[in-house]
Assembly symmetry: C2
Homo-oligomer: 349 residues x 2
DNA sequence: TTGTAAGCGTTATCAC
DNA sequence: GTGATAACGCTTACAA
């Protein structure tokens, strides 16, 4: 006959109040840092909290404050076709995602805010998501979208919920966003290749229907032009490993005499480097390669990749801060923030 | 003079009840699918729900049911040293993670369960996490841990919370886990290399302090022995891209005559293939390569990687199901589930 | 400065 | 089968 396991009883405000010899209200004030509490009493209450091991009940608090102390991290991906491979979230395979999560948590965790991970990858999930958001189940939203024709930024804007985007949205929006100065980054790459004396330059761009893809390409071409380099071969990639490899092949076919390449993401560079190698080009002596992101892939490349660094963790932390500010004060959407990139020199250029 | 924006008022049970001409209690019963409701009334209520656009308030519900309708997805990573690069979550960069998330959501989403993403990467965050869990802020936990000496499985077990592990824990535990049959997977690789007529075989193993690393290696060696192949070169990797490249160099140095390699993760294979290429070995004609995982990296490899497939999405979905079952019924921890692997033939072997 | 008391929107326990 | 009514644990006027 085994003893029934007693479920541990969680102390309530009432319990703490009893121990401290004060009222529920006073304990609540101490917990919430109200200034109107006698310092002596405050100490007594704090001790009572410690001895009882009290932790507020989020549901009860949420019920009255109408805040949830949680935000949604929404990953919006293009709909996968029914005939495609099981599920392969492209966003999740990108090292970028982990850096974003890390940066967000750096700010949210100390603030006691939880992060609910949500996926929007088709009409149904999008509707479910919006309904969830509209019904106040989270206090705010961080949206990471990877495709240009995503209706979600617009729909999100309509909800008037506090929200911050990772990167400038394809279509103008009043939502705040945080991104790196793409043009400046592209210029860093161009200046570096030019400084190395490379003149027969090519580039693997990102998707041209996305701002990051467009601006990096335009900025790169513009900066090269300033160096008197006009005739630049270009192949469009899709920011994936595989896409980078394919683009590199096209680029080599078009311009075999290449001596420098700017690849608009490290992940694409990771795919492109073996193609160069296999085509008999040494990197960097034959072809200098500059990537973009400074993701974990950059250091894993062979040779290690010279690349334009986006401070993704800091950017994500800033997104969290902007969001918390919006949630705290009803001052409307916050201004966007643009971070400066830096060039990280490794061995590929 | 702009009109003040009226915050949309969310309908409550009371409102629905008024519209339907019944009591709160009846509406609640309908919402929760109680059988003891007059079918006619049920219809009336359902219409009222539709016209009012009612959605239950989670906080209020949670307060009384003592359930949160959310589970934690906990990523436990080794503590990053203070002197290391900013934050680079290794788990997040692994395509494996995204597949897990996808599989979990496949089950959790229809069940209306939210997924809170939490990180445990040092003592402090671990304590905060445990306190959070113990205080009933989630109904259950899915734990993904990447290091052998992780105390979290043990600590989690002590909380007696419903929990499921991704992969067998390093130390025996009563917690349920879901994993692929590692040994069978390794055997598939060995049999395939042997069938190709390869005899001078090497392997890049996973970390030997982790079950997945150990079992894949032992299983591989054992299966090769059954084919009469005993002298197998081995280099230990760490399941990362970079680690795979380094291990491949060591392996080539030790055994230049290699004609077949089993690499215990696709990510490591991604790093190893360029090393082979650079060393002048053609894949697969000189060296046949078999990976493990069938991650998105496998298809991105050049040449595309023959690999042992783990059905990660299905495994994750099963984890979610086990967890929901534990949450639903107090029948103690569920049994673990082991999935069969399959060999996916591409071009590398 | 502190306490009292009124909700917040549900579910659950009763009578009816 | 249905409807009052009492919790659930917290914050917050308002009163003292």
């Amino acid at each position: 006959m085994t003893a029934e396991v007693e479920p541990p009883v969680r102390p309530t405000l009432e319990d703490v109040a009893a121990v401290a010899g004060v009222s529920r209200a006073t304990v609540s004030r101490v917990i919430n840092g109200a200034t109107t509490v006698d310092p002596a009493l405050r100490t007594v209450v704090e001790e009572a909290v410690a001895t009882t091991g009290y932790v507020p009940n989020r549901a009860a608090r949420s019920l009255v404050t109408r805040r949830t102390d949680s935000v949604a991290l929404v990953i919006s991906e293009r709909e996968r076709r029914p005939d495609s491979e099981p599920f392969v979230g492209r966003m999740f395979s990108d090292p970028y995602f982990g850096r974003v999560v890390g940066g967000l948590l750096e700010v949210l965790r100390p603030a006691g805010i939880q992060m609910v991970l949500m996926l929007a990858d088709d009409e149904a999930s999008r509707n479910q998501l919006l309904s969830y958001l509209r019904h106040g189940h989270v206090d705010g939203v961080v949206l990471v979208t990877s495709h240009a024709d995503d209706p979600l930024p617009g729909l999100l804007e309509d909800t008037r919920l506090p929200a911050v985007l990772a990167g400038r949205p394809p279509r103008p929006s009043s939502l705040a966003y945080v991104e790196v100065d793409q043009q400046a980054g592209a210029r860093l790459a161009a200046d570096h290749l030019a400084a190395l004396g490379r003149r027969r330059i090519g580039t693997i761009s990102g998707p041209q229907d996305r701002p990051a893809g467009q601006v990096r390409l335009a900025g790169f071409l513009e900066a090269l032009a300033a160096h008197g380099i006009e005739d630049v071969a270009c192949a469009e990639g899709d920011f994936t490993h595989l896409g980078g490899a394919a683009a590199m092949r096209r680029l080599l076919a078009e311009q075999p005499g290449l001596d420098g390449v700017f690849i608009a993401s490290d992940l694409m560079a990771l795919g492109a480097l073996p193609v160069l190698l296999r085509a008999g080009r040494d990197v960097p002596s034959d072809v200098a390669v500059v990537g973009f992101d400074d993701s974990s892939a950059a250091a894993a490349c062979d040779p290690p990749l010279t690349t334009v660094r986006q401070p993704v963790e800091e950017m994500a932390a800033e997104m969290a801060r902007l969001l918390l500010k919006q949630i705290g004060g009803p001052g409307g959407p916050s201004p966007s923030v643009v971070f400066p990139p830096t060039l990280v020199r490794r061995q590929s250029a």
